[in-house]
């Protein structure tokens, strides 16, 4: 299935900003995070199609997954 993965802030370094990637049916968010070698202790926000999700969420074909490190401002 095709998943659009967006990375932000420090997670972009050495990786990418946005890519559409192929994943096997049933892939969980946590598996994408692991495959991209993202440091879990720095994980902040995970969103699929503008909604917050956790690492156990299963992706569906056509989803957009946004992965942010812990960030803040205001």
């Amino acid at each position: 299935m095709k998943i659009t993965v967006k990375l932000f802030a420090t997670f972009r370094a050495g990786r990418f900003d946005i890519e559409t990637r192929d994943y096997p049916t049933g892939t969980k968010v946590g598996q994408v995070v692991k495959q991209l070698d993202l440091p879990t202790e720095k994980l902040g926000i995970l969103m699929i199609n503008s909604r917050h999700v956790d690492l156990e969420r299963r992706l569906e074909d056509g989803d957009t997954l946004a992965i942010f490190p812990l960030v803040g401002g205001g």
Binding site: A9, I45, G74
Partner: protein, 578 residues
């Protein structure tokens, strides 16, 4: 900080300076001092630009010490924009210098009868109030250049630009940063107009010969400060994200979450968001020889600001904040950082709140004065404000008045102050804060974004109503307390997540003052401040009917979540039940 200096600008025979002991305000700082003095001394029914209003300037409890992050300044008055009590807060050098000189507060009261313009020079030996009509209608950058030629670079300056002199409701008070740039503003609520109404153009703070304030228990203070700084450096938000990308790292976050108010709050996603993002801004600043990391005051270890150079590599402005980039950017359909930076510079120079002005320009676009996305149109409209034309004065009166003048129905204001960069429909918690804070719409008053969106300090679903009242209440109390200590609010990201950093913060206060405050005492201080502010507003005529969002937020859903603001009136009325 054992004295208060009171300056009666309207005294017979010219301004009169008097000194008094700090008295009942001993051991307090920042917002606690400004709000308690305003609540006690100012008639809530007074005209904000009349001689009964007062402007109170107060450093924080730990300002002027070697404690990190202690350089926030509070300015308080009755707001000409909202009619409520107001505390407007800025970084820059002013708080540190004022605290070292030794004043817990400067109180400006009365107003002179004539047309003369004044400057106030505060030194450890004296406070002088002098007429200087050569400063009339100077904007902040040329004004500070002129003052530096006389008073030098080892002082801090507070000033108003032409907008404050013209008594515009969106006008700010500028504080200089460590490089003497007038870039750090007490922005919200028209505090510049109150200073202007008292005919005070600039305050020069000179702490020559003074050292850092000494703690009661120096060893304990040093140790607590070390643990506090370690905690800030260790936390990913304060140690990594904010230094590298600044507050504008939020553009992508809010846009992804569908909570980025676009083209006057008609969509929650802006297609040009990536071009405005903190990632793009930091890259551009570095490429042009500016800086992506910069502190607004000495002693800041987070360094969330930066320096923005123009295309030719020349300094244009400081790194615009997220809310500025949103107000002048996505809210107006503009996706060009050079335009945003130019507008940020113009706001700082004229002395205007970037949030109020950006929102106002978006309302002017809604009214047809320019097209959404028209960068040149936005600059042209802001130039009118700088010239003080009738159109410029209208825009300089803020979003609420501009909407009324041009017949715009849907204007995002609470208590006549513009709603900032987070849509309250997909983020219910921040809507509770906008509706109920004593300040008029203000994200900083109870930053529910942390918990609703960023998942710092807990996790409350932004799309649901459950838990939002308690969240906003607790954040409003904590914020009032932090604003009173004079700490930068961004320490909250680390102290909410790391108990040892929170304890170090309490330990710093205790080591400095020789007190035995607990976390509960700090909470009580926050409640005391909010209670005084709320009481002032009640006496000024505000009721629960004012603690609401504009009606359209309850009736018009917004994409992509297609949700309205769903908090009931009864729930909102319960925020202050503690």
């Amino acid at each position: 900080m054992d004295k208060i200096v009171r300056i009666d600008m309207g005294a017979e025979g010219g301004p009169k300076v008097s000194f008094e002991p700090v008295g009942e305000y001993a051991g307090l700082g920042g917002r606690a001092v400004t709000s308690l003095i305003i609540s006690k001394e100012v008639n809530p029914l007074c005209h904000p630009l009349g001689d009964e209003n007062k402007l109170v300037i107060a450093p924080g409890m730990l300002s002027g010490t070697s404690g990190a992050m202690s350089g926030r300044l509070s300015v308080g008055c009755k707001s000409p924009l909202t009619g409520t009590i107001k505390e407007s807060n800025a970084g820059g050098q002013a708080a540190q210098v004022l605290a070292r000189i030794g004043y817990a507060a400067i109180i400006l009261e009365g107003k002179p009868k004539g047309d003369d313009l004044y400057k106030i020079i505060v030194t450890p030996d004296d406070v002088k109030v002098e007429i200087d009509n050569s400063l009339k209608m100077l904007n902040n950058y040329p004004l500070i250049e002129k003052l530096r030629a006389q008073y030098g670079d080892k002082v801090a300056y507070m000033s108003i630009g032409s907008a404050g002199e013209r008594l515009m409701l969106a006008s700010s008070i500028a504080c200089t940063d460590p490089e003497l740039r007038p870039t750090r503003h007490c922005g919200r609520g028209g505090v510049g107009a109150v200073m202007g109404s008292k005919r005070v153009k600039a305050i020069i703070l000179d702490d020559a010969g003074r050292k850092q304030r000494a703690p009661k228990n120096p060893d304990a203070f040093r140790d607590a400060n070390r643990i506090f700084v370690e905690g800030l450096r260790k936390h990913p938000v304060t140690g990594e994200g904010l230094p590298a990308y600044g507050t504008n790292v939020l553009t992508n976050v809010l846009n992804e979450a569908g909570g980025y108010p676009t083209r006057n709050f008609t969509s929650g996603v802006f297609e040009g968001g990536a071009k405005l993002s903190g990632e793009s801004l930091a890259e551009m600043e570095t490429r042009r020889g500016g800086k992506a990391t910069h502190g607004c005051h000495r002693g800041c270890v987070i360094q969330c600001s930066g320096i923005f150079n123009d295309k030719d590599g020349n300094y244009l402005t400081k790194q615009p904040e997220y809310e500025t980039v949103w107000a002048h950017g996505g809210h107006c359909g503009i996706d060009d950082l050079d335009t945003v930076a130019k507008l940020d510079y113009m706001d700082d120079n004229f002395g205007l709140d970037t949030i109020e002005m950006g929102v106002t320009i978006g309302i002017a676009m809604q009214a047809g004065l320019a097209e959404f996305g028209d960068s040149e149109g936005a600059i042209r409209l802001l130039e009118e404000v700088g010239k003080g034309t009738p159109l410029g004065r209208t825009l300089g009166s803020g979003a609420g008045i501009t909407g009324k003048v041009f017949g715009v129905e849907k204007v995002p204001v609470v208590k006549n102050q513009a709603i900032p960069a987070y849509d309250p429909r997909p983020i219910q918690g921040i809507g509770v804060t906008y509706a109920t804070t004593t300040m008029g719409a203000d994200h900083t008053a109870g930053y529910a974004i942390a918990t609703n969106i960023l998942k710092v300090g807990g996790d409350v679903d932004p799309l649901k109503t459950e838990g939002q009242i308690e969240l906003s209440r607790n954040l409003q109390i904590a914020t009032a307390a932090i604003d009173s200590t004079g700490m930068c609010l961004f320490i909250a990201f680390a102290i909410l997540d790391q108990p040892e950093t929170f304890q170090a913060y309490i330990d710093m206060l205790n080591a400095f003052y020789g007190t035995e405050l607990t976390a509960d005492d700090v909470v009580e201080l926050g409640k005391k401040v909010l209670t005084a502010e709320r009481d002032f507003n009640k006496r000024a005529g505000f009721t629960s009917a004012d603690d609401r969002l504009p009606r359209y937020f309850y009736t018009d859903p917004i994409a992509p979540h297609n949700q309205t603001f769903s908090m009931s009136d009864e729930e909102l009325d319960g925020v202050y039940n503690w």
